[in-house]
Symmetry: C2
Subunit: 558 residues, 2 copies
């Protein structure tokens, strides 16, 4: 049996005008700001007008630790959204936007896969509605204003060695990671070391995704620390007076984007912060708006549940005052086998024993998620080579963990394949068992918060922080940042800091190499491994093969 | 009498839905790609569908050398367009897009002024439809691919000291003018000198504005020279294999943007190349599309007629195969007085003698424009302090030059004030006197082309080029670039290279400091003075005062 590729399926999509999609959510044409015929932003005035409505139910889709076998978290998110609509529920999907730069290195990707996708695919991999460009502009305006301030006399007394605000581009460009700027003489300023991050790593991105509204956005932008003086006191964005103009640049970007699934159901695609040095979720404003418009909102978080769901629950839900009614944990038979020690090349062979042994990873995630007080449904994202015995092995294992696993065939069949999953999720939500709470209180010390995540979620013996790091955390507590949540930056492939350690390891520690303060976004980042904030291009970048064909279609991007 | 500001007038505009504006030109909703409710792009398929139609008449609006008094070239362009519509003609205006970066230094500007403006003003000063962001992305993709090529082994044998392709940002950031990139060790590449230009200075911008269609765009992008080898042979963009992906990034940006005047007449606002190192006109595709849709197309070119009109006629018209039926030369009484030696502070006083003496500048421009075989109408853009005697002095002078001057009060009255001008322009066009030809043939040597412009347009004794420059020009001729037109980069304030020399000076030479080859755009740039391709911010950048007010309106941008 030959399968169509994601792009083939996406191109065959019978898209409806975006006004029809908006109408499903009760958004009139006047309140939709169209970008072409298949994308739109929801107007701020409409968002304001629905604030008094009751919220729908929030469903988080997360996954086991990612493996090279692929889990299909976004595919399941989209499939579940379509499934809910199929069984007569009013549901909307909320996911992140894609970053432009990486598409020119490796191939760009679909939002979802198979018959569970969001379209238009090309646009979502290119400029989309310009949100990331707006973030890049706002970020670099601040950068330019900092150097301009220094150039004209440096009244704020910035230590030019301690400018922590870098520049940003949505491009994979390793040559810009570390530069010397302001060369060329007096009229170009004071030479200093500087560098660029990719736009998704910008604190502006994290803020856009956490801000409740434009006022909150400007407030948070103003709070960003951009540099330090010789006496180590911080210089803020508001001291540079850039927060107002940055907010103006971001006013359209703050409005959520609406597109559609292959089955013409509405989807919000908005924001895309890094899932390591930031929290890796779509925007708060998209999620909270969706909750006002639909009975069920299906969203996802970056990486596996140890990183993505933990940040979604401890950072996004805490800060936005939202709570999931259920969590769907995506697993695949293939990934279970890899967790059970099978090599990628051998995944096509039935191996129930390996499935059983790999399930330990799944089990730990179930336990972790339940510790937040939310019911968990496991979605087995079906792959054509899965055998019945393997699927049953996962189901049996999940039952021993006090949860239920549902086989879902949305990739192959769209909502027809995910209706069972949708039904199960609705059942669980209607039982009303959810009683969400973050796993640490605001008042806990920063180091204890880090330790709590390391021991309770990762199951490490401890987080290891040297005196310099502890001193830094204590300093921030003294400066009033002690109430912030922590944002862990760690490999997504393992509960440990070693990406090769699959399954459910024990007997390890989590060394914290560095801590950073994102004072505007509102979290302290604990870096536990190499974090690359500006990727490079591979030897043969995919850009070399990207072009328009004779029909005007984009080739080589997928 | 108190006048409203441009922004007050713009905010009171009764804008019509962009679909209604498109309908005036016969563009259906399906062929308009909306960006919000008041902006749209015209689809490529629609553009293709009208290629067999006859062209309307093209009118170029240009001006005397700019003075601090202001001439109102765009205001007159918009006013004339509205005036033509008022007298029953089907007319459309074509102007350039604004650059984002400079708005955060000095205040942003209206497109036009008073009651002759194009709206939406805020959007046009911010992200608009994202064209410039797309150009920035395409530009920087090529930059990243060049350094990536070097990083992975440099098969093309690029001399890293001779990479001529810089990076681009739409931001005034002097710190990026000259940098050392690829610092930080082996994984970041080979350190080398680099730098950023503002996006409007990118050759990609010039190409977008000269390309006939997407195929032509890709062809030209591929022809750009990005670096040289040790043996001085050029490395092209196509050698880096970036042209296809750049075209994909630019596919939407190539579609012209349609907005409206305050009087709800259609206006194309598309492209915005520098008027010094590039040709300074809106896009060819917007102009040629407009010519298929309207009986009269009113467009303008950057700076005064010596630079803007010369490039419009010798570069854009030549390359696009279009020809103006009439030229409107904008002058003001105040500017005549400044050319006649009056200081700015004294412009409010009647001074007919100064007007008379300043008219020499006007006269030379009339003569120059006629040398291209096009009839000239002088538009006196009325200012409230102008006296009847002063206006009459200009009219009398213009009559002695064999042309006619028409007083136009569009700034104050909109089309009611420009109907006379519109009527006069139509009269002249209907006489059919235009017989356009560029003032030098393709076959002329590059140095002779430079000399022709210097002597025939500027009235210099000669262009002065040293042996190094002459050798460079000869080399390019040998390489097959001899047929290209030249693009002069010179101060806009004078016929000479001295911005203080107003009026109609004689007895000077034009020293050419440097020549550059824009092989993709298709011209040789002759640089005759300081050219800044990355501006800086002033001591108190306007960004410090830009913010959203309580109504959500942008403050401080204007």
């Amino acid at each position: 049996m030959a399968f169509k590729t994601d792009i083939q399926i996406a191109r065959e999509a019978k898209k409806k005008p975006i006004q029809e999609i908006g109408a499903k959510l009760g958004i009139s044409s006047d309140d939709l700001l169209p970008y072409g015929h298949d994308k739109a932003k929801v107007s701020q005035s409409f968002i304001n007008s629905v604030q008094d409505r009751e919220d729908g139910k929030l469903i988080l889709v997360t996954a086991i630790n990612p493996t090279p076998a692929g889990e299909g978290k976004t595919t399941t998110t989209v499939g579940l959204g379509d499934g809910l609509n199929r069984i007569g529920k009013n549901a909307v999907v909320c996911i992140r936007e894609a970053s432009l730069g990486p598409n020119f290195g490796m191939k760009g990707g679909a939002a979802g896969g198979g018959y569970s996708q969001i379209v238009p695919m090309e646009e979502m991999n290119l400029h989309f509605t310009g949100d990331f460009h707006a973030i890049t502009s706002a970020h670099n305006l601040l950068s330019a204003m900092i150097d301009n301030h220094i150039y004209w006399g440096n009244e704020l007394d910035i230590d030019t060695r301690r400018v922590v605000w870098r520049r940003a581009l949505d491009m994979n460009d390793r040559a810009l990671r570390q530069i010397t700027a302001s060369l060329g003489g007096v009229s170009n300023g004071f030479p200093r070391e500087a560098g660029f991050d990719i736009t998704v790593a910008s604190e502006v991105m994290a803020i856009l995704c956490l801000a409740k509204d434009l006022d909150d956005l400007q407030e948070r932008l103003g709070q960003m620390i951009v540099a330090y003086r010789r006496d180590r006191t911080p210089v803020f964005c508001r001291d540079i007076k850039a927060d107002g103009a940055m907010t103006v640049l971001l006013k359209d970007a703050m409005q959520p984007n609406i597109v559609q699934t292959l089955e013409n159901n509405p989807a919000f695609v908005h924001g895309g912060p890094f899932a390591n040095i930031a929290h890796g979720c779509n925007s708060v404003i998209a999620t909270t708006t969706a909750l006002k418009l639909a009975d069920y909102v299906v969203t996802e978080a970056g990486f596996g549940a140890d990183l993505g769901a933990e940040k979604f629950l401890n950072i996004k839900c805490r800060k936005a005052g939202i709570a999931p009614s259920a969590v769907v944990l995506v697993a695949t038979v293939r990934a279970m086998k890899m967790n059970g020690g099978v090599a990628k090349a051998d995944l096509g062979r039935e191996d129930v024993a390996a499935v059983n042994s790999g399930c330990a990873n799944l089990g730990r995630h179930i336990e972790n998620l339940k510790s937040f007080g939310v019911p968990v449904v496991v979605a087995i994202n079906h792959f054509v080579t899965d055998t019945d015995a393997e699927v049953q092995a996962v189901k049996d294992y999940v039952a021993t963990q006090g949860s239920e696993a549902v086989l879902s065939r949305h990739w192959e069949l769209g909502s027809e394949g995910s209706a069972d999953l949708a039904t199960k999720v609705v059942d669980i939500i209607e039982k009303g068992e959810a009683n969400f709470a973050p796993i640490y209180p605001d008042e806990m010390s920063l180091s204890d918060k880090i330790n709590t995540i390391a021991t309770k979620i990762y199951r490490a013996d401890a987080a290891v922080m040297d005196n310099k790091i502890l001193k830094q955390l204590a300093d921030w507590e003294e400066q009033g940042y002690g109430n912030l949540p922590v944002c862990m930056a760690k490999t997504q492939y393992s509960f440990t800091t070693d990406p090769e350690m699959r399954g459910a390891p024990t007997g390890f520690t989590i060394p914290v190499r560095e801590v950073r303060l994102s004072a505007g976004a509102g979290f302290v980042v604990a870096i536990c491994g190499e974090i690359m904030t500006m990727p490079g291009l591979p030897r043969v970048p995919s850009a070399e093969n990207i072009r328009l064909n004779a029909d005007g279609d984009v080739e080589g991007l997928f």
